[in-house]
Symmetry: C2
Subunit: 377 residues, 2 copies
């Protein structure tokens, strides 16, 4: 186990970066995609398949875990790595985003946020200090500061208020995190909505506090892709080059190409598993909706060239049948297909950046997607 | 691929038998447990885990497959083995049982049964000839005759009527099956409810027609265990010793011990996967209900000595959390645990019969179950 958290930047190609993060439970190759195991489980995917897909790190959600099974319980059971049998790196969010989007009877002030638990109806308080305490109990490799994430579009005054509140919470999280066991990292979160001046002001203030890495938050909250990428393009260059940069909650394969091209190193998103559950497979030839009747008699696999057994070993006709019949196996197979696709995309991006051909890679990849699947049999 | 279906009886111990069936897609060690993939899928279990658990043969349901995706479609896609990527032996039922228990607007007469499809509302007819045609299209290694299965208790006249109808259908199925590709087998089904005289009369008539194997049907339909075992005890000895004997839809581990001890060779049941989805694990120490709060803080695995990774690699606390949170992974892990448990029980029975210690084995196994799990931590 490494007792220091460190980021090594190996090569840049334009704004795109390839590197490696060392953390207590292992190495994370960047650009990295972190699949999301909200309640200490990937939905419908065995942990060994998460690993086999190529994931170096998984994300889990503080909000859900603090309510059930509870952070103190997870700590008594040996921490989150032991609890969910994932001995590799873990990033936990702060709980803030889910409190804002999911919790009932939410009340927010400078001290933090209180809300009603959806599990047992209890009133729960989450302060910056408690968010850090919970993440230390869970034992994640990377903890996130508590922040307030608002939906876009929003008024500038509202964006600024949330940004300043998040900044005060960033300072308190940093203090609360001091003295954490060796090698654990705390990331600050840049807020500021779609306002470049607020974003840059927030970057400077967070860098003054000094974090182990920096996330761009408050995106993928309803804005169009060009707004998101424009904010990333203005924010990322202002962040320290020697720290990892994490774009929270993003996104589609195309979003990730765009954000890596603008200097982002880390991503998380539920899309691969959620879309898999809904019958949608990501492939080299674009997304394929297995619910579509055109697949009912198609004996071909999703992608005979895929590294993923589920994409090679089952016919489209079978996957169509499973999704139409709402068989859990359909969700299981397509979720695995999508996790492999995302990780293959990350691996191919890393190779392309290392070879100085990231721009060509993006063009070729997008051409593949627009080819729109193989012709029908 | 074997082009003959054959049963080799290796040893008997009391009425218990150990042997091996050779069929087109492989060997089946008996006594055998056949997990159920109703709609060409095991619920929440990957096919590679079905195989790894030790299953030699899987069962799939004609009723569901004839309605969706359709037998002609499966045939055009290369048959059921190819369709569901299970290259090992498959038994299909005739569809009769599910028509009786699931279908709406059911109308039964000598010609067969008509009903309304739950998939698209179409009126569908299932005759003995069509039941065989469908199973030949699916390409199963073992096909079952169409029969009428009634619930118990029932009046003797009603039992006799259904038995005689099933017998007429048995003759028609046998004729329809003649000329089937080499190595495929057709089993007759003994009906007769809980009436020993009707059962024995039916056995004699079916043996006169001559089948590749004989099923005891019409049990596990609501009667107490002692009634079921008593019918098996009276019926099995009358069946030809050189053909496999299959007790349909049975059962709990204890049911299987009892029926193997009375001369049965084959079983199928949804219990391992259904109970897994409901949070119940079968173990050497009896069933364990993971939903119970006593497991919430228990760091121990379900059974550290199990051959099943899921029983060794995850804590009871984690499995409890998954079942309480209704995470699909909980159903996935416990279904696999239970499939392994059933197959381990079959393997241990086969070894005990071969060693002439089946009675001791049954006593030891039941003692293990009544020990009622490890003491709490």
């Amino acid at each position: 186990m490494a007792d220091t958290f460190s980021f090594r930047l190996d090569k840049t190609d334009g704004a795109a970066r390839v590197g490696e993060i060392t953390m207590p439970h292992g190495l994370v190759r960047t650009p990295a995609f972190m699949p999301v195991g909200t309640r200490a489980a990937m939905k419908a995917v065995h942990w060994q398949d998460v690993r086999a897909s190529g994931a170096d790190i998984a994300l889990s959600n503080t909000y859900h875990l603090m309510l059930r099974p509870g952070a103190e319980r997870v700590a008594a059971l040996g921490g989150l790595h032991t609890f969910m049998s994932w001995p590799h790196p873990i990033l936990t969010d702060s709980g803030g985003y889910q409190v804002m989007s999911l919790a009932e009877m939410r009340k927010l002030d400078d001290s933090g946020v209180t809300f009603r638990s959806h599990v047992d109806g209890a009133v729960v308080a989450l302060s910056p200090e408690r968010a850090i305490e919970i993440q230390l109990l869970l034992g994640s490799d990377i903890a996130m500061q508590l922040d307030e994430c608002i939906r876009l579009p929003a008024q500038r005054a509202e964006i600024e208020r949330a940004m300043r509140l998040s900044l005060r919470w960033a300072e308190r999280c940093k203090r609360a995190f001091e003295g954490a066991a060796g090698g654990r990292a705390l990331f600050g979160i840049v807020q500021g909505g779609d306002d470049p001046a607020l974003r840059l002001e927030n970057v400077r203030a967070l860098v003054d506090i000094s974090f182990d890495g920096y996330a761009v938050g408050g995106l993928a909250v309803g804005e169009p892709q060009h707004v998101m990428l424009s904010v990333v393009e203005e924010t990322a260059p202002a962040l320290p080059a020697d720290k990892p940069r994490y774009l929270m909650g993003v996104g589609t394969p195309d979003d990730i190409l765009g954000a890596v091209g603008r200097g982002i190193d880390m991503f998380d998103c539920v899309l691969p598993t959620r879309n898999g559950r809904h019958g949608l497979a990501f492939t080299r030839l674009g997304p394929i909706n297995l619910r579509n009747a055109r697949h009912a008699d198609d004996p071909r696999p999703l992608d005979a060239q895929s590294r993923c057994p589920a994409a090679r070993d089952y016919s489209r006709a079978y996957l169509h049948h499973l999704t139409k019949a709402n068989e859990t196996l359909g969700a299981m197979l397509l979720s695995v297909v999508n996790l492999y696709y995302y990780q293959d995309l990350m691996q191919d991006m890393r190779a392309a950046i290392a070879q100085g051909r990231f721009e060509d890679f993006c063009r070729e990849t997008r051409e593949g997607w627009t080819r729109g699947d193989l012709p029908p049999v």
